[in-house]
């Protein structure tokens, strides 16, 4: 009990001391009004360079390659450092400061028309995505090789953890959700789980090479949801299609206006849509909350030392708490995405109604 009290009081003192530099820095360089909304949106959005740290007017960031295809001038490949953090145009391209394409590269035609070229730039999210993919491949292949070399020896440590997660998702999520033919889908669903999980975790690390809002980006979740949609609808059984186009309902619901089929078709589309939005919104919201709580420090900087210091402590405590919640969410969202994908695949694997499966009583229980 004594130890704990000591620990907590020491921590609070340290947090208070940490608050002062933040305040003094802001006192020194207070030039512009802080736009919280813009700041958060900017951090959530993609960018053409990987920002590491910014102090005042100095930006330290890693430039990333810009790949563009313009209808008038063809392919372009150059470093994003040519834009000087979005302040200068290059080869007729520039990063839009505002308007419809804010934050994106636009092409200004000689007439003054602003248009977007085909933008395949390796942005921050894309780079983080590739990094995470490599990490996932490295981890899983490493574990697979380690297990393959000596399968009889039970593992501890990291290999054991990955094995445990794999088995948990395989046995507790995929197998019961899909049923008999689960083995066909298990590797893909496991890949999805680890891909989302690692990306979520990397997003929580504020330092390079983490911190990108990859799974909180709709492009990413869109691709994931589309693949689930394709798997569900391309490997469905005959009975599944019959239930969509000719469901077992009174005929007037199907002819002349195909009411039920329309409802069913909409249903097949809403399922992946929900998957896409759920993952995207959860992760983005998590990043927003963490950023917002951190911003508390800088918002209150102008309110004096006492308020600023106490709010800093509060902000750090809240941020730590939310980060812990986010760790949990990182796992839960990967889990839920995998679970729902498996459930949707399982629903498309139905057999015809008359020969319903005989419920085997579990004697073991």
């Amino acid at each position: 009990m004594m130890k704990r009290t000591l620990y907590i009081s020491t921590l609070s003192v340290v947090l208070f001391l940490m608050a002062f530099p933040a305040w003094s820095v802001n006192q020194g360089g207070e030039k512009e009004e802080l736009n919280v909304k813009e700041f958060i949106t900017e951090h959530l959005a993609d960018s053409y360079e990987w920002q590491i740290v910014s102090t005042g007017t100095r930006h330290i960031s890693i430039p990333l390659p810009v790949i563009l295809y313009s209808k008038s001038t063809g392919w372009h490949l150059f470093s994003s450092s040519h834009f000087h953090h979005g302040t200068k145009p290059y080869r007729g391209f520039e990063i839009a400061a505002d308007g419809k394409y804010k934050g994106k590269i636009v092409e200004t035609a000689p007439i003054g028309n602003i248009s977007r070229p085909l933008d395949l730039s390796l942005t921050k999210n894309a780079a983080s995505l590739i990094f995470a993919s490599l990490l996932v491949i490295l981890i899983i292949m490493g574990v697979a090789r380690s297990l393959d070399r000596d399968p009889m020896n039970p593992r501890k440590g990291f290999v054991g953890l990955i094995e445990m997660l794999t088995l948990m998702i395989n046995d507790e999520v995929i197998k019961p959700s899909i049923g008999e033919r689960y083995q066909r889908y298990a590797p893909y669903l496991l890949t999805v789980f680890f891909f989302i999980f690692i990306n979520n975790l990397l997003g929580l690390i504020p330092l390079f090479p983490g911190g990108a809002n990859v799974t909180g980006n709709i492009s990413i979740t869109f691709v994931l949801a589309i693949i689930t949609f394709l798997i569900v609808n391309l490997t469905g059984t005959k009975e599944y299609y019959k239930e969509i186009f000719w469901p077992d309902v009174p005929t007037w619901l199907k002819v002349p206006i195909p009411l039920m089929p329309i409802v069913e078709i909409v249903g097949t589309l809403t399922k992946p849509f929900a998957l896409m939005i759920r993952l995207f919104a959860n992760i983005m919201a998590g990043h927003s909350i963490v950023l917002g709580l951190t911003m508390l420090i800088f918002i209150t900087a102008s309110l004096g030392v006492a308020v600023n210091s106490s709010m800093t402590v509060l902000s750090i405590i809240f941020t730590v708490f939310i980060d812990l919640v986010e760790l949990f969410i990182a796992f839960i969202q990967a889990y839920v995405f995998t679970l729902l994908s498996a459930v949707f695949i399982g629903l498309a694997q139905i057999e015809s109604h008359p020969k319903k499966k005989v419920i085997v009583k579990n004697h073991a229980a």
Binding site: K102, L120, L122, M152, E163, T166
Partner: protein
Amino acid sequence: MSLLTPEPGLLFWMLISFGITVFLLVKFGFPMILKSVEKRKNYIEESLLAARKAHEELAGIKETSEAILAQTRKEQADILKEAASRRETMIEKAQEEARMESEKLIASARQQIDAEREKSLRSIRDEAAVLSLIFAEKILREKLGTEQEQEKMIDRLFNELDMSKS
């Protein structure tokens, strides 16, 4: 809002990187892990079965060894019993034989003794006869020293003869 519209660039990179990830992991990664785990599971199950079998076998061996031990013990007892009975009969037989032998010996000894006694009796009787004759002669000689006496004797003898004849 740009946050809600998919970016073609990011879609492109996502498709490539996720595609490669999926290809590698679906083809090599997870099947390998699941196979290894399955292998281990089977191995553990087999080991458990083998252990149970060995255990049962051990119990069987124990049982048979106990049975063998019991049988041997029984046999031992039987042998001991038989030996004891044989010993008894042997002793009995020996005793019988000894008795018979001794009886025979005694019988033959008695016979011999009888024969000896007979012989000695006969010799005694002979001796006694001779002696009595000698004594009788001497007595007669004493008694029949005079004529009178001799005649008296002859008369008595005649009388006795007559008496016995009649």
